[in-house]
Symmetry: C2
Subunit: 205 residues, 2 copies
């Protein structure tokens, strides 16, 4: 296996790709490193270094060819076989993510949802089947889910995490406010809106 890139580099590549996809949609064909840098509040040197790190060297007089750069980033970020994703907890946030993710990245397959509500389970929501939490372990295994997005109420966050790890999930994106413990070999990424908001609040004073 190839050596992993640093986490911050992976984040930046993902952010560049987002910008590149938007630029392409706006009809742009080429982009300079300093343009990408400006859109991401970093330096042209940093952008060029990140792009070199993924082994792309197709820079021309008019800058990077956007289509090719998107493909080059995809070869690093995307698993060609795809990766299966579940959303655990279909409240407001789970629903927002369900709608948001649909069709966004072809290599991330949103396969299944879990909830406890009778109105949601046993049917499809926005084209994705929703199961009762009681079936979590079996369904996660059968569907070979690698990644779980956790959007359950904080009271059950720890319990759900244990169930997900037991079922064989290898990565968890935690949107609850509960800090989670996961065993070695499970990748955990946490996001708390309050932290982003407190950061804004601090810097606008």
């Amino acid at each position: 296996m190839k050596k992993k890139l640093p986490a911050r580099t992976v984040e930046r590549l993902s952010e560049y790709r987002r910008t590149l996809i938007n630029s392409l949609a706006e009809g742009k064909e080429y982009i300079f490193s300093h343009e990408l840098a400006e859109m991401h509040n970093n330096t042209a040197v940093q952008v060029r270094r990140d792009i070199m790190l993924i082994g792309y060297s197709g820079v021309q007089r008019r800058g990077y060819r956007i289509k090719e750069l998107i493909r080059a980033i995809g070869r690093v970020l995307d698993d060609p076989r795809g990766q299966n994703v579940a959303i655990v907890g279909v409240g407001h946030l789970g629903t927002a993510i369900l709608h948001y993710l649909k069709g966004k990245r072809p290599s991330l397959h949103l396969k299944v949802l879990f909830d406890i509500s009778e109105e949601k389970t046993g049917r499809e929501l926005n084209g994705v089947p929703c199961y009762h939490i009681d079936e979590l372990e079996r369904v996660i295994q059968e569907m070979r889910i690698e990644i779980a997005i956790l959007t359950v109420p904080m009271e059950v966050a720890k319990e759900m995490t244990e169930a997900l790890v037991k079922a064989g999930v290898r990565g968890i994106l935690n949107f609850t406010t509960v800090p989670l413990d996961v065993p070695e070999g499970v990748f955990l990424e946490e996001y708390d809106l309050i932290t982003s908001l407190e950061k804004v609040a601090y810097f606008v004073r």
Copy 2:
């Protein structure tokens, strides 16, 4: 005005406080720097340095007194007069944030919501008044809103940002997938779920 702390330090302080509030709720009174470090995947040295940076030195044999440390972080992160916040766009994500924020941080006052839907505007949602986007400029000024959380469809993200800046908002937390341009003096924080998810996807492979 005091010199600002680095952005990453502010993020960590916010994260520590979240953990400390949870620990306090669980009946814990004291905490060691290495315990906090372990819960946040960093080192005890980093934790102690962050806490020293905010001028807190009340560490005892049993560790930091949690209640006092929460207060010390609050003196740095919170504006004693409070800061007013608006949510612009009350779709699934806006609604999730509305419910999530309610009562979470006493110094951040969620004062107003904006939307275009007739069902939502002209009334209170979860106790917060919702106005039509057409009234954005006037209401933002009258209510002295400093911070806007942007959860509108991507097609209108740029236009809304211009309106918010014109109305005098000083910080924007952008949850749309559109990279935004703001003038000097306006603080912009962007969050894209796809980046978090792509990071998890990359590291579980």
